[in-house]
């Protein structure tokens, strides 16, 4: 039982990183009504900039974090212009395919930039794990969790208490009406993308600093984690994204513990498949509006 609870604790901590990734996907899908397959890769590119600074200049973890975020945002802006803004009038499919093409570009770019298979990432903290009764809290996990919570609060504030957030929500709910209100939809999409890339950059840094290494396949990995988490929890809703991330984290840790490494990812995909077959709306089910459900169907 102790193990089970310990795994849940670890799972929630790790899952908080996944939740951040899922939030990124959710916001982009809400605002642009498109899927961005380059989300993970753009974060990865930012991480590569970070690791470059770390390896070449022994930069401090905070500097690496900032570089990761900046790199992710710049890569994200590139993706937004090429795949989404330029294909504004095309079908959603075209944007998705284009984002896949850019994913390949970014991945190879990273490999060309830094040809070794793996590069080091600075650790989050050096402190020992905290003991609470029979349970351990790894300090880097705790750091990740706390930062994630703060970030979610920031996103919520931006969305619900700022003019920009109001425009993001308006565009997500009714694009045409938002135009008629005087909202510059193109600008909203661009800056929403930048915001989401920044969140992704932070999430990426937290995850990589916990593992202390980065590879070019992090992009694919991050995209999948974000997508799975988003779909598990209830697609299109922010609480769903968070819940999905936490559940994914718990499922991974539990299956790693009880079934071994070979079954870790398998369990996650199996759970996702099951959820989709039985309850496509995700665990939080009807958090989606009819319009969003229609958008998912039409992609």
């Amino acid at each position: 039982m102790t193990d089970f609870i310990q795994n849940c604790i670890d799972g929630v901590m790790i899952g908080s990183g996944y939740a951040l990734l899922a939030i990124g996907f959710t916001i982009i899908f809400g605002v642009l009504r498109r899927v961005n397959l380059s989300y993970g890769p753009s974060i990865m590119l930012g991480a590569f900039v970070g690791t470059l600074l770390y390896v070449q200049f022994q930069a401090h973890a905070v500097v690496v974090a900032m570089a990761t975020v900046v790199g992710a945002v710049l890569a994200g802006m590139y993706v937004e212009r090429v795949c989404f803004w330029a294909i504004r009038r095309g079908a959603a499919v075209a944007s998705m395919v284009s984002s896949f093409a850019i994913w390949m570009q970014l991945e190879e770019l990273a490999i060309v930039m830094l040809p070794e298979r793996t590069y080091p990432f600075p650790p989050l903290t050096e402190t020992a794990p905290i003991e609470i009764g029979p349970f351990f809290l790894r300090s880097e996990h705790l750091t990740m969790f706390v930062v994630a919570v703060v970030l979610v609060a920031v996103v919520h504030t931006v969305l619900y208490r700022t003019r920009f957030g109001l425009s993001v929500r308006a565009v997500s709910e009714n694009l045409l009406a938002a135009r008629f209100m005087g909202i510059n939809v193109d600008a909203v999409m661009f800056w929403a993308f930048a915001l989401v890339s920044a969140i992704g950059g932070v999430a990426g840094f937290l995850i990589l600093a916990t593992d202390q290494q980065v590879t070019p396949y992090f992009g694919l990995w991050a995209t999948f984690k974000g997508l799975i988490a988003m779909m598990l929890g209830g697609m299109g809703s922010l609480p769903g994204a968070i819940l999905g991330g936490l559940i994914l984290g718990i499922v991974e840790v539990q299956s790693l513990w009880y079934l071994g490494n070979d079954y870790k990812d398998l369990s996650a995909y199996f759970l996702l498949f099951l959820v989709l077959i039985i309850r496509p709306g995700g665990i939080l089910g009807h958090a989606l509006s009819e319009r969003e459900r229609a958008a998912f169907r039409r992609v």
Binding site: G90, V93, I102, L109, D265
Partner: protein
């Protein structure tokens, strides 16, 4: 013909099956990220049949393709309720499950004192039926293309058949199709099965060409590539996906100068292409225009 060129052409041929498989589902309006699972299932099963059970190539290929079709049909039924992105992610999840299952799949028999068979992440070696039976690489390539031409001919016939129209109708508007009295379920499942079979043919050929399989060959990258080939080549005709395959594996491979930058160039090319031709090169409109022009020219000559 130079061995290198033969191997490139063979590759194009085999991947074309996978691209056509994704294309068929695209016609019915579904974006599948997971056709590589059926490619893999057939590859492994046909390899097992010929290398471990002593079956001849044809039987092995057929078994593999049928198994792929069966699996695809099951998945087709399970995902019936799902549309759009839900469907796509479900196919992705399934394909990854298949890949991960092959990582833990061990099945070996001893042949001539050596263990032969799929060994999890270590892979499945020595699928050597083609070499043991003295079929040259060139002959094998001809076999692949012969089957490909047959499949293309079938697609050509499909386009002109009622079934083909029904498939495209499904892609346009499922509700409308239903209101015509057509059993949407039956056709969707049929499309899934056929697509699985086609992917399976490619997989069987691949197993015997490469002689060595490992689970990571059948990653999402493979599947999304297959999908993208159709989307950039255009969905107006079955030649569309082939153009996509040829563009990536053929044309770009040929340009040695960009060795190591192929993805960067291909990715950029695709992105730019989609800005000007969001529905691909040979999309329905363009094909329609071709047909009209050809018909006009033909009528003018009378």
């Amino acid at each position: 013909m130079d061995d290198y060129v033969v191997s490139i052409l063979s590759n194009i041929g085999m991947i074309s099956f996978l691209a056509l498989s994704a294309y068929l589902l695209l016609l019915t309006g579904e974006i599948s990220f997971g056709q590589q699972a059926f490619f893999a299932i057939s590859a492994y099963l046909s390899g097992i049949a010929t290398a471990m059970w002593g079956w001849p190539l044809w039987s092995g290929l057929l078994l593999g393709a049928l198994a792929a079709a069966a699996a695809a049909t099951v998945i087709g039924v399970l995902t019936l309720r799902l549309r759009g992105l839900y469907f796509s992610i479900a196919t992705l999840a399934f394909a990854e499950m298949v890949r991960l299952l092959f990582v833990i799949f061990h099945y070996q028999v001893v042949i001539d004192g050596e263990p032969v068979g799929p060994d999890g992440a270590e892979g499945f070696r020595d699928i050597r039926w083609v070499f043991e039976n003295n079929i040259s690489v060139t002959e094998y390539m001809v076999i692949i293309y012969t089957v490909l031409v047959i499949v293309l001919t079938l697609f050509f016939l499909l386009e002109r058949s009622r079934l083909g129209s029904i498939f495209r109708m499904l892609g346009e508007d499922t509700l409308l199709t239903e209101m015509q009295g057509l059993n949407v379920i039956r056709f969707k499942v049929l499309a899934s099965g056929i697509a699985g079979f086609i992917a399976g043919i490619g997989g069987g050929f691949y197993a015997h060409f490469a002689t060595y399989l490992e689970p990571q060959n059948f990653s999402v990258m493979l599947g999304v590539h297959a999908l993208v080939y159709g989307l950039i080549g255009g969905l107006g005709t079955a030649l569309g996906p082939l153009i996509g395959v040829g563009l990536d594996i053929g044309f770009l491979e040929a340009i040695r100068a960009i060795q190591g930058y192929r993805m960067i160039v291909f990715g950029g090319l695709v992105a730019v292409l989609l800005i000007f031709m969001p529905r691909g090169i040979l999309d329905e409109e363009r094909i329609h225009w071709f047909r009209l022009t050809w018909r006009r020219w033909r009528d003018a000559k009378r």
